[in-house]
């Protein structure tokens, strides 16, 4: 799908911001250094993808999953990323679940608005319907 080579670059502004936030205040990062880090990041993505894909292939799966990426980090000797990645994944899952709960709530709200006999008390019941929300998330994943 990547028709132009620049599509395989990451946006410079974002990369620059991440670098600045990681380094002490006032460090000057040369333009050449920024470009090199950006290229390195693209190579990192490719390397990680290829490692993760090997794990998926070994397990005879066609879809890369979170465990494959984590295993790839270990293989690449970036174990130091594992803990922050696991934490971020938890937050991400939690956020996703809440978003899908939210969507479902809104949808149901519309329905209940139409059905005028219902009142707000239903809200609390809806929060407990977790399994359904997880199914929603999985369906979204398959689309990729």
């Amino acid at each position: 799908m990547a028709e132009r080579p620049e599509d395989l670059n990451l946006p410079n502004a974002v990369i620059t911001r991440i670098i600045k936030e990681a380094l002490p205040d006032g460090v000057n990062v040369s333009k050449e250094a920024r470009r090199a880090i950006s290229q390195a990041a693209s190579v990192f993505v490719l390397y990680a993808t290829s490692c993760a894909n090997n794990f998926a292939m070994k397990a005879k799966r066609k879809t890369l999953n979170a465990a494959d990426v984590l295993a790839a980090m270990e293989e690449m000797e970036f174990e130091r990323f594992l803990e922050p990645l696991r934490e971020a994944l938890e937050v991400y899952k939690k956020g996703k679940k809440e978003v899908s709960d939210q969507k479902r709530k809104e949808k149901e709200k519309k329905e209940t608005d139409n059905d005028k006999s219902r009142e707000e008390e239903d809200d609390e019941e809806r929060m407990e319907e977790e399994p359904e929300a997880e199914n929603d998330a999985e369906e979204e994943e398959v689309e990729n």
Binding site: M1, A2, D7, L8, L10, V14, I15, R17, I18, I19, E21, A22, L23, P24, V27, N28, V29, S30, E32, A33, A36, I37, A40, A41, S42, V43, F44, V45, L46, A48, T49, S50, A52, N53, M57, T63, L64, N65, A66, V69, M76, E77, F78, F81, P84, L85, E87, A88, L89, Y92, G95, K96, E98, V99, Q102, M127, E140, E141, V142, N144
Partner: protein, 122 residues
């Protein structure tokens, strides 16, 4: 990580907090991943993790290069600091191809001459 967000107050910010977790565009990372020929499908969590890992990588590469580099006193990070880190640190070794050490043409010619001299000696 506010775990105390009660179900009722956790409303509109959800979208923001999920997105704030990462700053690189997921769509671009996906494009790069998909450019790898063997990869067929990537689930959302794998995509999210790769994006997050790339951010951690950028931070780690920048900080390691700055700490090991020559510009610590002058508060600067240069290309050569990165190239040295790629060469010296095992975890960054895969970058040596795209971060070649730069040498001056004059130095290169001298090295070539030396090699020729040495060969002549033999």
């Amino acid at each position: 990580l506010s775990r105390d967000m009660s179900a009722n107050t956790a409303d509109k910010d959800n979208n923001v907090s999920t997105n704030k977790n990462i700053s690189l565009p997921i769509s671009r990372v996906r494009l790069i991943m998909k450019s790898s020929p063997d990869v067929s499908n990537i689930n959302q969590e794998a995509l999210f993790l790769t994006t997050k890992a790339t951010e951690l990588f950028v931070q780690y590469l920048a900080v390691s290069s700055f700490n090991n580099g020559s510009g610590k006193g002058s508060k600067s990070l240069s290309y050569s600091d990165l190239a040295s880190t790629a060469e010296e640190k095992d975890t960054f070794h895969f970058l040596t191809d795209i971060l070649p050490k730069k040498i001056l043409a004059g130095d290169y010619l001298k090295t070539l001459e030396q090699i020729e001299d040495e060969e002549a000696d033999i």
